[in-house]
Symmetry: C2
């Protein structure tokens, strides 16, 4: 996770105590977060989706122009996040391909978690 | 969708007739596809997820190291796809930030579609 060095002196870092809500599914999706330290739990529709640690990407629906978050993110431990508004995020992607590849892989992993969530809660209907 | 010019002379293009299966949810996830022409329907667990057109990204779970596809992709019209194995995909991301941003936005949109799928098939439980 070499890309984390890009955030070593980041000027928009947010800290959360254990059990505090980082964002809720009714919040506006206005920025993407990179987990610098700690563990974050994501829940969909009240059910656990996954736990994410250092280097994870949160709030990626901001990239799709979605007006709202889809998940609730809660700190499981003390958590530090780097916040990237869309312009800064795009600039980082353009300048740092290793960050771009990491974000893509993280989004694909999230899709895999959601797919597994669907398997558990819906099951195969075909 | 300026990034489509990157695929104007692509050497790994696949064509599908209407109603043919592009990939199935039991296939190995070994490459990512870019839709060059046509409309593709994605189904999850036998239920419609979304329709994707020119410029869309398909098969993105290959980026997460997932061994299998999660969706079934079917051509609704004549379809042309550019196929990118992982190495070529990563090379394109590194050299073309506009492609990287497009892929990320496409992945976020897919997450939004899946979120909407979950709302329809599970509903809010909290």
């Amino acid at each position: 996770m070499n890309f984390l060095r890009l955030f070593a002196n980041w000027d928009d870092v947010h800290e959360f105590e254990p059990d505090s809500v980082i964002f809720s599914d009714t919040d506006t999706a206005d920025a993407v977060y990179v987990v610098l330290d700690g563990t974050v739990e994501l829940r969909l529709r009240g059910e656990p989706l996954c736990e994410e640690g250092k280097g994870s990407i949160l709030g990626e629906l901001a990239l799709s122009g979605s007006p709202h978050r889809s998940a609730v993110a809660t700190a499981r431990t003390p958590v530090r996040l780097a916040r990237l508004e869309r312009d800064r995020f795009e600039s980082m992607i353009g300048r740092h391909p290793e960050f771009a590849l990491h974000v893509m892989s993280a989004l694909a992993n999230r899709l895999r978690s959601v797919d597994s969530f669907i398997s558990t809660h819906i099951g195969k209907t075909d």
